[in-house]
Amino acid sequence: MLQTKELTYSYDGKNTLVFPDIDCGKGEHWLLLGQSGSGKTTLLHLLGGLLSPATGSIIVAGDNIATKRAAALDRFRGRHIGIIFQKSHFVRALTLEENLVLAQQLAGAPIDRGRVEELLGHLNLSHKLREKPDNLSMGEQQRAAIARALLNRPDVILADEPTSALDDVNCQEVIDLLEREATATGATLLVVTHDGRLKARFPRQVLLTHYQSSL
């Protein structure tokens, strides 16, 4: 479902990051571990199609996104990949419900308010439907971001440090939710983190060491 081969990324044309091959099967939950500066976020952005690799292939749901061009990639990302960032961001002028509807629309999916309400119900956010994102607490915002990532039933969910800003209780809760909802939609989950608290939960792990090399 999520597969990379001989993936490298060059951020200034001289220094190149070389990444280990990844192969995550459908519905599997993986943890990508690495210290700060090991290129975790870069790898996640490559997998999410936010960056283009120097060489190598990234196969998501059978398609090589490394060769996709601009608008097609934007569309593919919206439909097939859900991304959760360390700090969640929203369109601040819109309510939570409008933000989720927008996510459906931008992905080119049909508007399904029932799905929005169902998902927010799962995440205990039904009462925040008409709130602006700025009025949500950190924990609520992170849950809302999870809801948005899951909304279009993506094949792959990428989570970048989803718990590093949370305390133990919230960390536990958020990761529970993430795993539960990913399982519910049958999505492949890849959590990128340096948060040691998660190590015990994910038997499938990739360790990212300092793979940087100079040409």
Partner: protein, 411 residues
Amino acid sequence: MNLLQLSWKNILHKPTSTLLSLVLFALGVGLVSLLMLVNRQLEEKFEKNLAGIDMVIGAKGSPLQLILSSMYHIDAPTGNVAIADVKAFLNPKHPVIGMAVPLSLGDNYRSYRIVGTTFDFFDLYKAQLAQGRRWEAVFEVVIGAAVADALALKTGDTFHSSHGFVVDENLEHTDASAFKVVGILQPTGAVVDQLILTSPQSIWGVHEHGEQSHEHEAFDLSKPLTDYEGESITSVLIQFKARNAMTLNMPRNINENTNMQAATPAWEINRLYAILGDSALALQVLALIIIAVSGLSVFLSLYASLRDRRYELALMRVMGASRGKLFALILLEGFLLAAVGCVIGLALSHAGMGVFARALESSYRYSFTGALFLKEEIWLVLAALGVGLLAAFIPAVQARNTDISQTLAEG
């Protein structure tokens, strides 16, 4: 939710900078539109009342004042001229003069001016009777449509005139015979709508009743005006048969060789335009500067908002929006600000013109309206929308070029 709704909500999300842009846009557009409306209607009034008049003869004084008082009925007359002096011009057999219309001014009824003249005046302004007839005797009057409307006068009604052009009970000619309305004119859109017309003999009759015991016998409509050499009138409106060297020189001849003056309406009106034109131009430049500043305000507010919104713009890309969509989103925000500003500005200028029209009407007896939309206003709107789009262009390009990976990695 479409892009339009999204940009609308984004605009409403920052009410202060939106308000500033809207106020500036509305001010600029409204001012330009108001100037257009006033200018157009003034020009129309002036053109319509030119009525093919080539020359006006009256007492010496300011030529512009003579034109304004005799043709537009807005200033005081320059004085009177004796019938004996203008007799030659009133001769129907004059070789170059096609039509000469005498005017006797100086009285009013409830601030509507009374004009003593001949039936040629009707032809000059193409005025048709809506009801009644023309005057057949002294002290009979025909009134313009606006006068009939405003004062609720009907044929058969009578009234006493007042001296001068302002309403003053002390100046009312109470001891003179009353005027009697015998006809009402159809609306023409020209100044004649605002006038009360009668024979010069009626005006003389009002003013000389003290000296002569039987004024009705003294003035007889069957005799030509030129028989009353001892009387005087205010001015003569003249149409030439054709323009030639003789008619071209006639005003100068009159001005140099008589104690009267001759004024050419076209010149005087052009002089007036030149005087008004400078101040109108200054206002217009000011209004255009305001529109430019409103464009700058849109630019600055969008530009500043991009900093605050870089995450959500990147996020929209992550959710599947293309670069083009972000470009269109920001462009639409500028466009919407300009469009709403335009609508407010036009509404203000037309409502303002409506209020202004009432004031003008009561002081100048000219009808203006705010319910008039000009073709030029379409250009104004297009220009303002163009300014909005232009102001949004650079921010839109910036939004389009957002580096999503870098932006999201920052926060």
